[in-house]
Symmetry: D2
């Protein structure tokens, strides 16, 4: 099945998700990196931009316009949103693409404009894109040309809630998602609140009250599943660590049933692990890997359960998910290159 | 008013709350430390146990039985729960005491036994003790002989919720408290999960589902205020930082009204600061100090608000609160010794 | 002695050293803040720029040109180097000034140009400035109009080495200074290597090989003391914590003599504490305070000693030192406002 | 060459180096884990002891006496020193063993007793053991039955210094090693100074002055290489991060020559990467991997150079090194299972 090596390009390789793609592909048995782009860093070696990749023999960073896409089987697009839609619109139409930006997550152009503040510039591609939450869109991804990677927080919330909506075991009007998010999810941007001196040693909420853009994904996906409008409450908190997301989801339903539904749903999944009832997950137990841990506990108040999901935002929440999807799109083993254990301590 | 210096003893000075008392009293204008005890460290200097206090001229650590309480105006008791009740029962009956343990927080002996797993050994003192949440028990504290310091998490939750219950502006059956707690709240105990290698770089929930002992305080206080049983949901998460608590409280009520009630209630308080509507607090903005920051935002779902409270668990959540109460009990200025600004970064 | 309150201005209050000045002055018994400036943040409240100062009643940030210096007794200048010399040159000539920048640390204009890359624009002021290492320039500082705050790393190294040169007990050609420096020393600048995601969880050397600018101070001060050229080796390492410096100094001399010289020299000093021979200091034991801890140990190789100095770069290494000097310049108690204990944990 | 899978046992799998062996072997192409032991945790699943390994299908933890060594090709011994020598003495004499403890690092029984405080109980095995610094003992390791893993700090220092002694380009009497060591090197021990609240946010030296046990390895190895007694100065500092070592080595020699010697020596090595002259390494660039980064810079003082070595103490400093050696001992590809990229950020 993996007799043949496939060549990939990584567009936007100078950010964290780009570097994470390189890290994971470095030991992937069937992928090789044919091109790396970085507009502002074109001409530099990846080892200059990311010294932790110095041991690898990698192509130099180039501009996108200098990539020979005829030699590329699939392009990962790790560019900022808005830029991504413009770039992908200019790629050869037959080229398989996994986009890691927010540009193709929302199917409805009006939703995109609502959450991202301007009209979508590639509406036809938006219609074509398949939502990249592998465990729930596997067959569509296998057949897709363009896959839209999910938001990392949106992924965590969906692992908690989707099976419960599907099974009809929770109250759709009473879902509270309290998120703890590692800082690498914010990227390598030069912002004051991302400085070590500002961020370490404490925590704070951000984008509270319903303003976080990943709500667009929750609304789209949960409502489609439920066949009615579903709106969750969602409060993210910025954490003083680099990798990892913990979603604490408060739901109304029978705790044992909530656990049973999740355990059954994820039993065949290679990367999603449901802990025994009452066991509590930790971000440390999945950091550096493509694994997801799910815990369920009942509250002392009958009829209320807490579902806790942890994943690594850069791996399963972004670049690992992207490779998992690329494996499917290229006819490779879905888990290829993704079985590395988490790193602890 | 502060013409006379008062002498205090700190029983259990070898733990974090004991050291924090010393730190704060070091620059208190009207308190002097007459005795420090630590059973296992008796005979040692504080500078050996806590080198950060090396610049101070402090009494040696002694055993409690070696303290001359006739020269002491007030004793802070920073001992583990269960030990504390036994020790305080043996102190001179006229001695003013501020207890920082959990032993006198719950008024009902049955509640104590339920949450702490064994009968209370000093039921008469339990009845006498005044609950130490200064802003809500100020006059009783002023007159009290024995004040029970609150749980640090319990304090944070009550700053968010108490005025809202009093004002009748929230649904009493729909309160979710999601806590992020710095690790010093767990004390200096040698536990695997408190090691740097285990704790740094990630987060995890603990005591979820209604098992955290501070729920006993929430139940007692909220139910008394409401005149009916009030039970909240409460999920604590252990944070990879040392000082600070962030309580994210999800309530049902009109957000602007929620904000107005809190702003009005805390306007005269010297240590509790309500941010403008929509502004979000950070633990970093209060760490090292006795200040509390409160933020309120409305959710996109009408009728739902999020109240966020930050405080320093060792200062306002424990030792700062204790000194604030001691000031009242000794007839000193309430804010004496507590006006140090937070330390940032 | 402190019967009268003095009014100070803080120029450049929107950076970390400016905020630290505000933090310390907040509980200073004899200073009040009359003006705060921040060119880019003029018109904002300090609470917006630094929410941890929200509890204080402070003047709004203004432009320097809008400050009425006739009502100011002393100005702290916490501006970037190069800017500072221009600003101070424009201040009223009678105004006392404590400069926290690098602009007046080097007495020789040629040295300034060598280390800072361009000619000094206020050479007359440079000649007038007194070097601000309080314990060694106390009387000159008391009489000075313009005091130049030292580099934070330069302070740490000098506490280790100066008395040893003065006493003639070490080999002047064999001094190695290995520095571990908390990140707040780099200021609030938006640089990639200062991001939490880049800096936390590891360490790296920087400005190695003799290129760090604080070498200019070491060269000037040590050579003047020795009466000959003294050049040290100096390798700084950036640490994943916010406050604190540890200088590990390798010297040649008799360890017990090294310890004795330092212990005797600092015995009368209120802020410099020499640990017993063989005891090792920690940055945590001074963080948040104006204290310095000094440790000495002998190596197993006879004739070699290691001197270790810890201080808080923002406090004793910068803003605390500045206030200590200001106290002297204003005829106040030298320790006024600076006796706060370190914050631990 | 790797046609056949070999079975390994991990004795002492409940500590960090044991868990790291499991992590790395999880994706090793030619090793399978046949047995895991943990005396106090016998009967438990690894997922209970280390939840980050929950995705793996692993044997239960057993007692050593319950392992069937006839089915084991090689045993990794990750036990505490002193315990290790007793256990290995009781293993089948034909069994290949890689010991990760300190028990077989020192060849001279008198040295062992000097540094570890009691006589060695398996002197015959001590004589047989090969020192496990792969790049310098490769052929002996290939032929060995018992290999002694090096100290993690000792490895870092030797990567810096060995080639320089061999080439005769440095002064043997003037070597200063200043170490910055991540905390996982101290293991999972319950010690107060390893608590997050004690360790985070600062640094301090430890075992200074020539008392650190890894000096025994430096003395043995450097003296043997030089053909004369070589004693270095060595000061370790405990760092507030989990993985990674930075050794800053001060040497006397021509910097360009120092760099050239190291670059030439390590050019053929798969895991040791020498940076361009003047480039400075970071622990972050190797954390989670088996790679070593080496940097060299010249001091401004002629004839002095600084060599900086970074490696991951748990990987290349311990468990990765152990697997690299096991690969050689079992006739496998030396790099098998060890090519995972570092994890950043």
């Amino acid at each position: 099945m993996q007799s043949q090596t496939r060549t990939v390009a990584i567009l936007g390789a100078s950010g964290y998700t780009g570097a994470e793609l390189v890290r994971l592909i470095a030991t992937h048995p069937a992928l090789r990196i044919g091109a790396l782009t970085g507009e502002r860093k074109a001409g530099m070696a990846m080892a200059e931009v990311f010294p932790f990749l110095a041991h690898l023999d990698l192509p130099m960073l180039t501009r996108i316009e200098d990539v020979d896409f005829s030699a590329v089987d699939l392009a990962f697009c790790a560019l900022p949103h808005a830029t991504s839609q413009a770039v992908i619109a200019g790629l050869p139409r037959g080229l398989k693409v996994v986009d890691l930006s927010a540009d193709f997550r929302l199917r409805d152009p009006a939703d995109y404009e609502k959450w991202y503040g301007k009209p979508h510039a590639a509406v036809d591609l938006q219609a074509e894109a398949v939502y990249g939450l592998t465990e729930f869109y596997r067959e569509a991804i296998r057949a897709a040309r363009l896959v839209a990677g999910t938001g990392c927080n949106a992924a965590a919330g969906q692992y908690a809630i989707r099976p419960l909506i599907e099974a009809g075991v929770i109250d759709l009007d009473e879902i509270v998602l309290d998120l703890k998010a590692g800082v690498s999810g914010a990227g390598r941007a030069l912002k004051e609140n991302l400085l070590h001196a500002e961020l370490s040693g404490g925590t704070h909420p951000y984008a509270a009250g319903g303003s976080h853009r990943h709500l667009g994904e929750f609304d789209q996906e949960f409502s489609a599943l439920a066949g009615r409008l579903v709106r969750v409450q969602f409060t993210p908190h910025l954490m003083p660590f680099n990798r990892g997301i913990l979603m604490t989801a408060y739901v109304r339903g029978t705790p044992s049933q909530v656990h049973a539904v999740l355990a059954a749903r994820y039993a065949p999944e290679p990367f999603v692990h449901v802990l025994p009832f009452g066991a509590l997950p930790s971000t440390r137990s999945v950091a550096g890997s493509n694994y997801v841990h799910v815990g369920v506990i009942g509250d002392r108040i009958p009829g209320r359960a807490v579902v806790m999901v942890t994943l690594d935002n850069l791996a399963k929440g972004s670049s690992g998910q992207a490779i998992q999807n690329a494996n499917l799109m290229l006819g490779l083993e879905e888990t290829a290159g993704l079985l590395q254990a988490p790193v602890f301590p």
